[in-house]
């Protein structure tokens, strides 16, 4: 089946998410759609899948125009989609999720769950996906959840399969397995759209690469001849530096010392188990791991957002296991949280207000209970220019800025004071390449000024490039400590997947 998108335009209030986009996908090929966060990739695919009505443009299948008013129409026309955020009901089994919407039923709508199981097993065997139809989704690792999504698409016999950033949640070895599945799909005559913002992957798997920037297709390249820096320049619109520039670290005294830290949640589930490590002044320690292996809870325990169930945390030798976040902040701890909308910023407040959010109560900014807005505004102006925050004004609501500039607001607030320890979680998630460069250089500068830095990121390349020492977390434990200069991503990836590199030759 040949798919064509002609002149697709989709506007949201204030943004043109897709601007006159033309794309073609032929039978049996992999088209990679590459672009920065916010370039409009997901929107374009939602238009194709009937979730958004395009303001202009047509969708053609084998030359005849189609109008999709709902996902049901798109599914019926042979289009399947694996969304960026998995569309799986966490409390349902694999079989229940797979048949949802096309349930095999009998009288009174009675569900034939055995039939559903059989269907899952059949497809799973045919494509060697190794799925247990009775497993409950929330107990499964993300890599397996993704295979469930693939079975959903295959069961509906999709001729065109769209994967929206499928590799973001996978370990390196899972990515290789995933590419194998893509190849099987293509050789069975299906077309695949593979969305990513990772250059290497696009070059690796695609037959053609289309580059999207600010809603427009800025060009198409042939992966056999294109280079990474060439594509990166197309994505960003200017030459970019893809590697982190840093000298080797000169580590000093121990600043952060974590001993036997254990964190349980309200249900008694163990998220962090007996974790011990140190971070010294002037070094960057990275924590790698697949999302959901306890990194979030580790950071929350270190920053005081969550109670530690066991173990101790000390900063410069002082025990702060039971200190609240403000006390930790005052002891020189900075926190760049992983979810800037929920934890780092107050979206409805202005840029200036967000910039003084952690110190409006300092003498410098307050007279008794009254905030001294002149002082606050003055510091905001300084920070906005120093950290190159692109905002219409300091009164602008922070929620309306782009992801990269929101992140710079947090970085500016957290790093613009004397620090002993900086904890940064997913510091560049959803941030444009230009800002990534900047944030990385700031973090390295902080290290060079003698601060201890802990970086937690699920982007393996990022932690490997930034850290001087690398810890790997798997199921709540630190399973490895590595020298990033002497390890390969593949090796780290095996630890991330819970196996040991030497014992898992054919993983």
């Amino acid at each position: 089946m040949k798919l064509e998108l002609r002149g697709i335009t989709k506007r949201f209030p204030g943004v043109v998410a897709n601007d006159n986009v033309n794309l073609t996908l032929n039978t049996g090929e992999v088209l990679s759609l590459i672009g920065e966060n916010g370039a409009g990739k997901s929107t374009l695919m939602s238009v194709l899948y009937g979730m958004y009505k395009p303001d202009e443009g047509d969708i053609l299948l084998d030359g005849s125009p189609k109008v999709f008013t709902s996902p049901a129409d798109a599914i019926a026309a042979g289009i399947g989609m694996v969304h960026q955020h998995f569309m799986l009901v966490p409390v349902f089994t694999v079989a229940e999720n797979v048949v949802l919407g096309v349930e095999p039923t009998g009288a009174l709508g009675k569900l034939h769950i055995d039939e559903a199981r059989r269907m899952v097993r059949e497809i799973s065997d045919k494509y060697s996906l190794d799925l247990d139809p009775d497993a409950v989704i929330e107990d499964l690792p993300v890599g397996v959840q993704q295979r469930v999504e693939i079975v959903k698409v295959l069961l509906r016999d999709a001729k065109v399969v769209v994967f929206d950033e499928p590799t973001a949640v996978l370990t390196p070895s899972e990515i290789i397995e995933f590419f194998e599945i893509v190849k099987t799909l293509v050789s069975a005559g299906r077309g695949v759209v593979f969305i990513t913002h990772k250059l290497k992957e696009a070059l690796n798997i695609a037959d053609r690469i289309a580059v999207l920037r600010r809603g427009k297709v800025v060009g198409e390249v042939d992966p056999k001849t294109a280079t990474e820096s060439q594509i990166a320049e197309m994505m960003v619109g200017r030459p970019v530096q893809l590697i982190v520039n840093k000298n080797s670290a000169s580590a000093g005294d121990v600043v952060l010392k974590v001993t036997d830290l254990t964190v349980l949640d309200a249900d008694g589930r163990k998220h962090v188990e007996n974790v011990s490590f140190e971070v010294r002044a002037g070094e960057i320690v990275g924590v790698a791991g697949v999302q959901g292996n306890g990194q979030t809870e580790l950071v929350e325990a270190l920053t005081g957002l969550r109670k530690a169930t066991g173990g101790t945390i000390t900063l410069d030798g002082k025990d702060l296991t039971h200190s609240n976040p403000r006390e930790r902040h005052q002891m020189g701890m900075a926190h760049i949280p992983e979810d800037r909308q929920r934890q780092g910023l107050v979206g409805g407040l202005s840029v200036a207000e967000n910039l003084v959010l952690t110190r409006y109560h300092d003498d410098q900014f307050s007279h008794g209970v009254v905030v001294d807005w002149d002082a606050a505004n003055a510091i905001a102006d300084t920070l906005i220019s120093e950290y190159d925050i692109r905002t219409p004004s300091k009164e602008t609501g922070v929620g309306t800025l782009s992801g990269g500039n929101q992140q710079k607001v947090i970085v500016a607030r957290e790093l613009s004071r004397d620090l002993r320890l900086t904890i940064a979680a997913q510091p560049t998630r959803g941030v444009d390449v230009g800002s990534i460069e900047y944030i990385h250089s700031r973090i390295v500068k902080e290290r060079d000024a003698g601060t201890a830095v802990l970086i937690v990121s699920t982007e393996l390349e990022e932690v490997m490039a930034l850290s001087d020492r690398l810890l790997v977390m798997y199921r709540g434990r630190v399973v490895a400590e590595l020298d990033p200069k002497k390890s390969t991503p593949m090796e780290v990836g095996l630890y991330m997947a819970g196996s040991r590199p030497d014992s898992a030759v054919n993983a």
């Binding site: 989609m81 799986l88 349902f92 009675k110 309200a266 249900d267």
Partner: protein, 414 residues
Amino acid sequence: MNIAVDSDAPLLSLEQRKRARNVGFSLVFLGLVSAFLLAGRPGNAGFKLVDTYTVFLPAQPFARALAVALVALGAIQLFRGFGKWTNVVLAIATGTFVIAFLTWAASGGSFSLTGMLQDTVTRSVPITLGAIAGILCERSGIINIAIEGQLLGGAFAGAVVGSLYGPWAGLLGAIAMGVGLSAILAVFAIRFRVDQVIVGFAINFFSLGLTSFLAQRVLTPHPEYNIVRPFTPYAVPLLSKIPVIGVVLFTQTLFVYVSIIAVVVSTWFLYRTRWGLRTRAIGEYPQAAGTLGVDVIKLRYRNVWIAGAVAGLGGAWWPLGTVGRFDQNITNGRGFIALAAVIFGRWHPVGALTAALVFGLSEAIQLKMSNLDTGIPSEFLLMAPYIVTLIVVAGFVGRSRAPKAAGQAYDASK
């Protein structure tokens, strides 16, 4: 998510430790009540099971034995913990405590235990039906705080339509009223995406205000619109001949049979059919269903309507199952108790029925006590059921999880 779950982990989360401790203290508390209050009356208490057979229990020794047992159990719970047996222990302990309470109250006399149990089942009807209405909504992602208003509207319509056209028509009228009120909830919550709790409260006030107004202005001057012949109990052939159970379960009005059927049918549909799978899906993660072509909006509308019908039927219980008339605010908060039953029952119809029976029992006991002339102030009697409720909440409910998407409006483009 990859979380190491270790069932016999030595560490318990704060929440679990707190709960285990609460259960321990509750047991000790009940034991002390037994020792100091319930053991204070000599004499035998008679529980009449059938006309010809009465069981006698010696009140004082029973309460003393229970006191020792409860304090011991509480101590074991506090120092060692019963682990997964906690709920069983607590259920048996509270059950026995209730019996001791009755023994104390009836010491030196006797009363019909069977009658009280029959009353329990009868009184659980509107709570059960209200709770099923709540479950149907919440399972599809709509919080239904308006159960109280729907019951009240159903009661009003049941009385008026029943007075004019007979009890069967009254039933239909009550159902129609329930659907009408739930349609308001549906439109505001689903179409206009108004906060569901606020819409629910508005419906409750609207329903209370409107029915009170009409009762004063129309029903008071026209009593002929407010007198209906309620359904009489129907003895199921054969089954009603079983001793005790025959009276408790099978000599009841239509409403009891209907609510038992409603529990069975709704359970079967929720867990065994396509409708149920989709309903649970849109209550947990509507986007997952929506991207597979399920019409989330339509299904939510439909389920809220069905829920309204069930709640309206529950409301009809007052005029058509008991008193034969409507009074201002006749439901008196039962809709909120039903909401509690949804939560205690963990969003499962059978669980809700169990919770409804516990509430029904406490109502029945309270009623019995005020007839028995126990010397307890009536204020305390009114309180007693809620003390039991608190213990139930502290102990049994522990971890319970609402449907994830309950309360969130659905937007197809997110």
